[in-house]
Homo-oligomer: 228 residues x 2
DNA sequence: GTGTGTGAACGACTTCACAGCC
DNA sequence: GGCTGTGAAGTCGTTCACACAC
């Protein structure tokens, strides 16, 4: 079977590189997200520049890694000085697509979904909950934050008539693939799943899975087989 | 700064390999966890054997990967037949350390923690919540599942007097490092953090971080720079 | 014939190390 | 002197391909 693509293309927008494209590794994108978090903190505290060394320290990586990651998108740094904090933040937000608002639906009106929606960074980063769905009749119609829980049977038609960029799946593993098929058919192109199962999607759909069970079991393994 | 170790040693317990040790990649351990999940499903449904092809299909990986992963721990499969479902499940549970009970404390009496504790697989896999802590006076003393929320200032002494294997951190990023230092000093050796920040720990401590913000931003990046 | 086990080949990410610029 | 940018080298995980066992 085809493996899910690990890379996406990044089209630069500097004049001299207008037609070039680069594959950026998923691990790099994750670090960019981290750099951005800390850069914004530095920016707020009034710091003007930051070296690759400082960023590496904050993010738990190496200076060489920081420089390599940032170099994929151009030369932001000044040799001998470091990177301009505010400018780099702005640039990273653009690169990550965080300058725009994304419309999110949450499927599964449980605690995970509300934990996510309540998280400050969620709205701050431009993610907006435009709908919450569940299949449990007891939950349908109830208030949920600023929204009202809707019937999951309305999900597909709602996605067809309203723009939905990202679907968050906070439902049992057994239900996950069915919902995925539904929303992919309706045009959703990105999915964040908390269901502890592997999801099968067409290659152009972006999927991230957060599997808490897997993380815990990873710790169990580490405790059991720790290098003494 | 030292990078966190990516590997742990696994000491085999077959007679002829008693003294050998192998480094198992983190990615392999994650897949073992997935194999186990599906093997238990197959076992319940009464299936006796499963081929690497079948497991790969279920888990979204490749047959070669499955065989390689399992071969690190010995030869379980029968050539021409596949792997014995029940036996392999048992073996994987042992390897992952899931045959024993782990004592878990949850720091931060919010929704993420309760979502985790409510999750069926949590207890089923032998993870037992032995304490819930918060620093918010409004929450301290309130019932929380079968437990009562305790004052976070009691955490360190409780960890010293009771066995705690794993600490789950469901607290704001700004508080995370302080709590980590506290519990590591008190002897906790494994941490699952939901705080969107990088944690600094001594090399012998196992840490997994689940960063939902990072996952969402990864989707934002993919949507923005999708390969057309 | 069917499917495992595994060394070898491959590819991808990380680290090194140094030229180049401030 | 200090720090970035980057080809080259290194490391590690994945895929291949085939001998071998049932």
């Amino acid at each position: 079977m085809p493996r899910r693509h690990k890379f996406v293309k990044y089209f630069t927008n500097t004049p001299d590189m207008a037609l070039s494209s680069k594959r950026i590794a998923e691990s790099t994108v994750r670090r960019l997200s981290m750099y951005l978090r800390y850069l914004e903190g530095l920016d707020e505290s009034g710091q003007k520049t930051a070296s690759s060394d400082e960023l590496a320290q904050l993010c738990g990586t190496t200076p060489a890694q920081v420089r390599k990651d940032l170099s994929f998108f151009g030369s932001f740094g000044k040799r001998g000085l470091g990177y301009p904090v505010h400018e780099l933040s702005t640039r990273l937000r653009d690169i990550m697509g965080l300058s725009q608002a994304w419309q999110v639906v949450i499927v599964g009106a449980g605690k995970i979904g509300s934990a996510l929606a309540e998280y400050r960074g969620f709205r701050q980063r431009g993610f907006k909950v435009v709908g919450v769905y569940d299949k449990n009749p007891d939950k349908i119609g109830r208030p949920w934050g600023e929204a009202t829980v809707q019937n999951i049977s309305d999900l597909a038609s709602d996605v067809l008539t309203h723009r939905v960029d990202i679907a968050v799946l906070a439902i049992p593993a057994d239900d996950a693939q069915d919902v995925v098929d539904l929303i992919v058919a309706a045009g959703v192109r990105a999915i964040l799943s908390f269901a502890p199962t592997s999801l099968h999607v067409p290659p152009h759909i972006a999927v991230k899975t957060v599997n808490m069970a897997m993380e815990l079991e990873g710790l169990s393994y580490a405790l059991t087989n720790r290098g003494d």
